[in-house]
């Protein structure tokens, strides 16, 4: 029996209000183009790539972990497919599988390091971030002699991973939707999802309650490695080339999207709907500014202020959800 009262207490409401606010704002200042098919494609495409990474990063955050290594996972996987299927001309499927396997492998290593060493994942993945960036640069130069490699992929690979539908919408959009559904199912309807929430709430109690926390942790890191590798791989196919660059933008952007989406930085709380809304909000702000007459110089300022506003709003709604008591009486314990 969902009433308005109980809806308002849904933690996602904060993120929803935020997204609607920026959407209305940019619809007004961005003119008709912003909401046209082409305009929507512009922020949806950005959202789809960020969103594919934000989802597993969000799950990790709910489970109490961070993954900074996605920042170098993307160039590492693009370079992998470009070197294998571009430089060495092997079939594209080999490159795709190699890139995705690399993602799984890096995630596996991060996960094992986190559970074995008990070092905070922030530090562990900071180390893998640097190590992987160094490896990508060094190996690319050794193998291909260059830091930028071209990749020609056949029509099938293009269609599946790197094409525009209607000339505008990247196919990654559909991948994103698929992953949203999968992750949403996992978090809300599967036992695994309950384990993730419990681990973020209290890792020791979760282990004591019989949750195989080690396996869950490794699985989560592998999924974030896989998704980052997927984005890198599909970018290489879409743009017919790959470059080495030690990227920091996806690191913070994915965290920002997830936090705007109402996930608690310290773990134990969050929702897939929220992450999707946070990703959309971030993408709208990031791209919307180009549709307005504002000077793009102020983009960072707007993102910073937005982040703070979003987090404050989420906090309010989370507190509401926490103090929710089914009796409408004013006294707590009546």
């Amino acid at each position: 029996m969902p009433s308005i009262g109980s809806l308002v207490r849904r933690p996602e409401v904060g993120s929803l209000i935020g997204m609607i606010a920026v959407l209305v704002f940019f619809s007004i200042f961005g003119g008709a183009n912003f909401m046209s098919a082409g305009g929507s494609a512009s922020w949806l495409n950005v959202a789809s790539e960020l969103g594919i990474i934000a989802l597993p990063v969000g799950l990790l955050m709910i489970a109490g972990h961070l993954d900074l290594s996605v920042g170098s996972m993307i160039p590492a996987s693009s370079m992998t497919i470009a070197i294998i299927s571009g430089h060495y001309d092997l079939p594209i499927i080999v490159g795709i599988l190699a890139a995705l396997s690399l993602g799984l492998a890096v995630g596996f290593i991060s996960g094992v390091l986190v559970i074995r060493t008990k070092v905070p994942s922030f530090v562990v993945t900071l180390a893998t971030l640097f190590a992987l960036a160094g490896l990508t640069l060094g190996l690319s130069i050794i193998l291909s002699g260059s830091t930028s490699v071209a990749l020609k992929s056949g029509p099938v690979a293009k269609l599946v991973f790197g094409d525009y539908l209607g000339g505008k919408f990247q196919v990654t959009l559909f991948w994103w939707i698929a992953i949203v559904l999968i992750v949403g199912f996992i978090l809300n309807f599967s036992r695994f999802g309950n384990w993730i929430l419990a681990m973020g709430g209290d890792a020791v109690s979760a282990r004591n309650a019989g949750i195989p926390t080690d396996r869950v942790t490794i699985a989560l890191f592998m999924s974030s490695g896989l998704c980052a590798a997927f984005v890198g791989m599909s970018q290489a196919i879409l743009y017919n080339s790959a470059q080495v660059a030690a990227g920091q933008s996806f690191i913070f952007n994915s965290i920002i999207a997830v936090v705007i989406g109402g996930v608690l930085l310290t773990g134990g709380y969050g929702s897939v709907v929220g992450i999707v809304l946070g990703t959309l909000t971030f993408a709208i702000v990031n791209q919307g500014i180009f549709y307005t007459g504002f000077d793009a110089n102020w983009a960072s300022l707007i993102i910073g202020v937005l982040l703070l506003a979003a987090v404050l709003m989420n906090n309010t709604f989370r507190t509401m959800a926490l103090t929710y008591s089914p009796r409408a009486k004013p006294r707590a314990r009546s």
Binding site: L137, S148, V244, F290
Partner: protein, 303 residues
């Protein structure tokens, strides 16, 4: 108010990049003319260079979705960006390629014209200047290794020096040094101390040249290692004037933005088209001979 004038979209570099801020200033200044006839100029730049090709392709599509009158864009990573440019042309929107790609790219894509020079050509120009002034071993300091444009600059240097019988190596700095002038300076100093046959040194940006100047004076090799830089700022020009820097490679970024926008504004409003193709803005060399005039422009933020 913006209904009838030319709505011109300019795709360019990062907003806080000193080089691109000059291009933007040129575009904005030309935009003032466009505004007089009810037009507008909108600048679209990526937030960083991590993902240059894909990000720029997205910006082109972002521009196209706003029903522009004309688009200006650099062809940094043709593999990644050409499809997007072709969509622009297919949609009947006038296009000028600028800054990188060259006339080849403009022809291939069906663009009206090309304004600017190429990173590689600029590198060649610098390499030739070094060669003709007797440098045999030049270090190219790359603080953004892995980015196509900076790699091209260093490659141009190396290829040109090789022709005059010298050699050039690249010094790639890790991302943990980026934006930290001291880390850059000390790394350069180390490289200079390690290889005492070095006689030339060039940095990929004007800011790095400030670090390199400190490195050279610390290592006490100022009379042996000649300093040069891609692009320039007031501090660098001052060094050229004082004789502690040999030259800067100038591609007149202000003109790239200014000319490209002006050309398109004229075309959209009045059907004007220039027979000169391509319109080259560089590479020019700023050295002791022409530094005074350049300084004046730099003070105004145009050079």
């Amino acid at each position: 108010a913006m209904a009838d004038g030319a709505k011109i979209f300019v795709i360019g570099g990062k907003a806080d990049d000193p080089f691109w801020s000059k291009v933007k200033k040129g575009a904005d200044d030309a935009g003032k003319v466009a505004e007089l006839t009810g037009g507008s100029v909108t600048w679209l730049g990526p937030q960083n260079y991590d993902n240059l090709g894909p990000d720029a392709a997205k910006l082109i599509r972002t521009a196209l979705s706003q029903k522009p009158s004309a688009i200006v864009g650099p062809d940094w990573v043709p593999e990644a960006m050409d499809d997007a440019f072709k969509e622009v042309v297919a949609a009947g929107v006038p296009l000028i390629i600028y800054n990188s790609g060259g006339m080849d790219a403009a022809k291939r894509l069906g663009a009206m014209n090309y304004v600017g020079n190429e990173e590689y050509a600029a590198g060649l120009g610098g390499g030739e200047y070094f060669g003709s002034h007797g440098a045999k071993n030049v270090l190219c300091v790359n603080t953004l290794p892995g980015s196509t444009n900076t790699e091209d600059r260093c490659k141009g240097i190396a290829d040109a020096i090789a022709k005059s019988g010298g050699k050039s190596t690249q010094l790639p700095l890790p991302s943990s040094s980026f934006g930290n002038p001291t880390a850059v300076a000390e790394a350069i100093k180390a490289a200079v101390l390690k290889d005492n046959t070095l006689d030339g040194l060039i940095t990929i940006s004007a800011g790095d040249a400030n670090s390199a100047a400190n490195a050279i004076s610390q290592a006490n090799v100022g009379d042996k290692v000649k300093l040069a830089s891609f692009d320039m700022d007031e501090t660098g020009l001052q060094r050229i004037k004082d004789g502690t820097q040999m030259f800067s490679i100038d591609q007149q970024p202000y003109l790239q933005g200014y000319l490209a926008v002006s050309l398109l504004n004229g075309f959209v409003n009045y059907g004007l088209d220039l027979p000169t193709k391509p319109v080259l803005t560089g590479p020019g060399i700023v050295d002791a001979a022409n530094v005074e005039a350049t300084l004046a422009g730099a003070a105004a933020g145009a050079r």
